[in-house]
Symmetry: D4
Subunit: 253 residues, 8 copies
């Protein structure tokens, strides 16, 4: 049967225009398409929220694809296994409390399930700035990341949202932008972005809970703030997203 390139082009443009228009105003805007962003997005979309997720790169999954040092396996502890079950990621027991899963399968499955749950993903998009009202974040200022990579001078566009989740991991990109505007007023103990503390893994669970929190009115981070260089082969991030959903999100949202 005859195929028509014009229809193909029209179809792609129409569908994208529809997706883009529908997400100029959302309930939650997630920045970063790594595991914590995907897991958070999945649960929020499943709960009926309108969720848009912005990822700078072309592909999703963040650092999970490479496992540890390109050995593409990841380790998950017992308490986070229920998340793998929820997403349908296969795993094998290594020894008590330690399970492994294939890094490639995990990255892909988290992504696939988040979209299927309703998360609208915008890849190749970077965050240039945030929109604020008197002491509350109310939106994001976006641009194509290839524009940024090519060093072109092209203005961004703005989208509104009720809540922003900074899921960019150690980079805390959104938090840094906010902090530059209101130095000293973050909702952390010091009011600042907390410094690097090299921790041991057994404390990570507790810390992940402590640090998955609202750091500025309307802005959340997913459990990564004070652990910039934690040895985390994947598992801590699930935890972050998991407790995020169970303990904290419930109370705020």
């Amino acid at each position: 049967m005859e195929l028509n390139e014009v229809i193909i082009t029209k179809a792609i443009i129409d569908r994208y225009y529809e997706k883009l228009s529908k997400n100029i105003e959302t309930d939650v805007a997630i920045v970063g398409g790594g595991p914590s962003g995907l897991v958070a997005g999945y649960y929020l979309a499943k709960a009926g929220k309108r969720v848009a997720l912005y990822e700078r790169k072309l592909s999703m999954g963040g650092g999970v694809w490479g496992g540890g040092m390109m050995f593409n396996e990841i380790v998950v502890q017992e308490s986070a296994i229920h998340i793998l079950d929820e997403f349908g990621v296969k795993y094998r027991k290594y020894q008590d409390n330690y399970y492994t899963s294939d890094a490639v399968e995990t990255a892909a499955t988290l992504t696939a399930k988040a979209v299927q749950a309703g998360v609208a993903v915008f890849n190749c998009v970077s965050i240039e700035d945030v929109m604020m009202r008197t002491d509350r974040i109310i939106g994001l200022v976006l641009n194509w990341s290839p524009v940024e990579m090519a060093g072109l001078h092209i203005d961004p566009l703005a989208v509104r949202t009720k809540f922003v989740i900074d899921a960019t991991g150690h980079a805390v990109e959104v938090v840094r932008v906010v902090f530059a505007k209101v130095p000293g007023r973050l909702l952390t103990d010091s009011g600042k972005i907390e410094g690097e503390k090299s921790m041991w893994s057994e404390k990570a669970e507790t810390l992940t809970l402590e640090n998955t929190k609202e750091v500025f009115p309307g802005l959340y981070v997913t459990g990564m703030l004070p652990m910039p260089h934690l040895v985390d082969p994947g598992w801590a991030r699930f935890l972050g997203a998991c407790y995020f959903r169970e303990k904290r999100w419930r109370s705020y949202y």
Copy 2:
């Protein structure tokens, strides 16, 4: 409960060593983790073959993630819909014979399902050379792609396989290596890599069938050879893999 970094490191190394060792000899080695490589791998693994897939990049999914011009939707024609059904990718009808699906969901789902079907994926790996016997390809010569990117002089390693599928798309990377060794002896009409022919979409289906074939003893390409710049927003590649399975593979393998 206490977590031990040494166990995490051991677990990752052990699992990867196991996966790597098991795949030094395979039934099929697929080069390229885009849609045609993933779909081909999926059906072959499902049929009980031992399949290893090598992808140069960190992430899988090839060019699907970006849809057309970063408008992240893809178009699939009716005759390929059964593949989306097989993988569980959601789609919407645009008009008769034209369906759209989310590009991000599609890329991720193809990847996830291929691994779950049994394909062993080695990402961050590039192909430096092939191993040949008298006129038959019998293996691949691998290296880490970051080694290549960093321009370091480090020797590769070799793996054996019964069949190689070149799923690198228009680049036909493996075919080029073989052609450089045995100029004029490819199993194409001219014996050479066939030139660029800008085609229209309605002929693509037929051509995809014609060109998903064995181009050298032991070496297959997935329907892309004579269509280097076809306007293919994803669908042609499914077809390639699909017919590949149904019509050709059956007879050769």
Copy 3:
């Protein structure tokens, strides 16, 4: 009065979507936003044709902005002065037959007037390929140029058109793509892209007329083909476009 970013974003997206959708099928597609492309587009749009113009760079005007060696003035000969008059570009007489105009004003005015005449300009867009039917060009395959600059693997989109004008100057980018597909079949004397011939200016006028022609069914070039390194401080290009309109276009279109 209150301004709303969401409305601003919506307005921009809606208007662009409208412009993009309307130009998936056009009468003429011009590649290259330098002077010959702009002048050709202006006259064609003024004649009621639907014209889309694709420019790889962010800004229009090509090499005119810099005059000669960054001395931002250009020289126009008497026979092309009527084009400056048509566009409203100011000029001064230098000596008999030689006039000068400000390079910046000229580049900007040609651009402004072309758009006002109805040319739909798509900047930051590069041509990846052409669509062909049996020996006729029927469309272009586009991508964002920042995607190309960033080296990302993202598929293009296709647009249809009745005629293509290659106004990329010495690069003859579209002609090269076509030539790679049908070597030896260009409508030039040799059937090939004609080689470099360093000419003197007094012959340029005649040559510009000779070479503004149809080089393949559906594909025109604007008077630049055999003069890759002509000393042309702007004036030859006007001529090209001018005669293009008067003598040739009339007969073909």
Copy 4:
């Protein structure tokens, strides 16, 4: 008729030499060829001042060409529409108070009209330093921007002027140079370059008025100082230039 390259070369050199020599001393030197620089230059030249405008890039128009995220349309609010009317830029109403215009047409028209009004534009020129007398800026120190891009060690040249307008937008390039020389003595509230404050659009108009001011004796900025990342799809800049002309310039100049 015979054309002579030597005459063409002579004509270009003579005209540029004339333009350059005439502008070694000016009334106003504008740095930056974006919309606010062009609009300011237009009104000043129209008022009979000798105005030179220096732009680092080859082309003029700044960030306007790309609209928002390469969607090449811009939005203008009602109160700035009279500027579009003054320049002859076409626009369409989107909804009450919001109008759109083609980004390419707008960039080109502002440029063309500024030059026609008498602004002498020097493109490919960057500002290396300023000339100062006891607490007053009295000139600029220029170089070719390609020299800067090529990293060559070549000395600059100096030009004198009565007033300097820093129209480089968020970069405030001239202000930074001055501030480095006289830290703490800018005519802002703090005496420093004021920090980043993410604002909402409805306050922008007021702020643009507040911040289009003299920040050091002889040095003006065009309404951009405290709004480095404002979501401004073009309109704010017109306002800046507009009120600049109406309210402030009048009193100082």
Copy 5:
């Protein structure tokens, strides 16, 4: 006799896996494969300790290979000659107290003898972070250096060790990471990384002794801390390692 690539690949993978697994927990981890790291490793391995050495580059030997200004000879003073004797490096007397040896031979011999003494060398590996417990360094966080060079986002792996020696010379890479986590608490006089002090050679011996010390519980540096730009054509480093062994290590370990 027939050779089998699969056996070759298996042999390499098996031996490396064995070496890697055995060194996830060590007595001493040395960072930096220059002369001081190699000499320290040699003596420690000879004393029966399990020693792993991590080097960012592909080759070992650090700055020794190039002698001074690519004149590939080095100078050693009398008091360090016994180290050359221990390793079997040939030398010639230049004048009283000054001996020279071939730079290439020296670099290679130090490396060869260190491995033969039992040091497990991991080249192409960089240190991303350290593992700490309450005020004691207990391990290193590693990644492939080509991953770092290629700018890929891939997680590291962790290894445990009783003691870490920072032998990265003036860079003191490990010390910097620790200092960023516990500012002000290094075991130096100031509690900080001590600043640059350009010294003369005759004081270097004493200083090398003074500065080869424990700078944080579990972390040693090899005599380089306060001498960032000393004119040291190799000899000072031997001294550092030498006295390190004789005077200090004995008391701590």
Copy 6:
């Protein structure tokens, strides 16, 4: 005791000047400091010849350091074990006919022993050209490789030699220079550089013997010519050098 930088500088300059002056005329000049160059140099120096070895990089050892894919072990077959014994490299049996050694130890030991045997190594030196007489190579034209890397225009220097060994492996850098001067006159079967032939390992031994030969009067290659992408984890190169010495060199030299 007091140390004097001036004496250190003098010592290094004097020793290097002496080494350089002594090697302006040599018996053999080896290009490439990888295993085959080092082994060939070792045996020739041991036999009393004056040997200079030029290596482009700062360090010696070529591709051996990285083993296979950064797994730093190499495999040696039984027939080459006597070379490891000669140099004193430790090895372990993997299975019949296959032995492994540490890649780092091997690279370092080959280098150290070659210098101790009398090879004068000039690292950071690249070959720009060769000196020829009527159909015989009689010298090399050298430059600092950092000069080449920095793209500076600096003339080279020439050295004379009786024989040149091209030990640059697959690159055959010297052979290519000679071939460009006397196309078709190499002493190979075709008179040309022989093309790429992907071989299997069991044929490598024979081929290494066949191809370690004189390819032009005065110019030898070390067994690599027709095997550009052989899977050679080190052992083939030893063989090359070994038989080189035993069978061929004897007859020519």
Copy 7:
């Protein structure tokens, strides 16, 4: 006494404009500011010709500055000593027939004397093309080299001349441009650019004479054509220029 920047700027612009205008038509245009270009220019200017010299780099002197391998001395043979005498370069006898001079002094003196003799030097200028009439070169097409380095699209300017000397050495840049336009019609034996022939120095004198000749009507090269990689530490180039003047120029000019 008061200094005025405006006068300084005016003075520089006026003088340069004067120099540039005067050289739009010349007797001889030399391309390349290395020793052969400078020497040729010196003698021609001294003979009363109007000579312009174009050099791509900022500084003159070409490869002389670095001597051999950055050892900044050059060697001159007896028969060329009279040129050093003519320019006033100091030299010392090394042994019979071999003299040395300081490379820095030589490069600078050749440059200084050429300008003093009347050569108009335009540095930072590259040659984009040539102007030709029926089989005769009649001019050059110039651009700023920083424009080329910065990759900007800016048109060139043309200058006329009676004769062109290609003194770009092995690159023969002008000859290549001409050859691309009239393949096979150079005045060499083959009609082509002659291939690389590695020669010995004692034949260089003869060859330099042979090859300093007219290779196309109006176009000369300075004795370098067939000796692309000659070991020439400076002296051959003087010879070239010298005999150029004495034997050939006389007959043609």
Copy 8:
């Protein structure tokens, strides 16, 4: 007569070795081969001092070659004309107190005359560090600049000198190194490197005198310290060097 490459190579190496050895200890070491370094070197060498000059680039002359904005002329005021007379640079009067000279001739003549006066120039050499004794600079630590450009890890060499002149202009490279070692102890008013002060030209003469001084025991700067961006088209630098000689040097040296 026969020429021998070996003699040529030997001659260059011998002469350079002699020059290098003789300058390991000097009276004055000048850093930077621009006009002030050359002029200072000239007068000092003429006065019988042993002077070495180190220049990072291949060519000498610094920023003089390019005149102002590549318009290669420079302006000299009356009071500095005697320096041009001393060196034999030709100049023309522009108007009272303002003279112009050719930039290329000036750069080359200053260089030629400095070497002829006895300055030993080492080009392609950069300064890595300084040697100090208790509060006095006593030498420099050198490396090849291509080594630095190529990013290689190669140790430097040290040379001794009685006095160092930092003639690197605005960069004050040596002063910065010293300041980093002894913060706050420079012999300036503040004890620090004095900040940027944009001055007018008529004050430059006085300032040049004030600032050509000893800034640390043994370390001088040539009149540039407080004028980093002065509009100095060459003349100020002569002055600096001139008065340097006449007023200050006499008293210190």
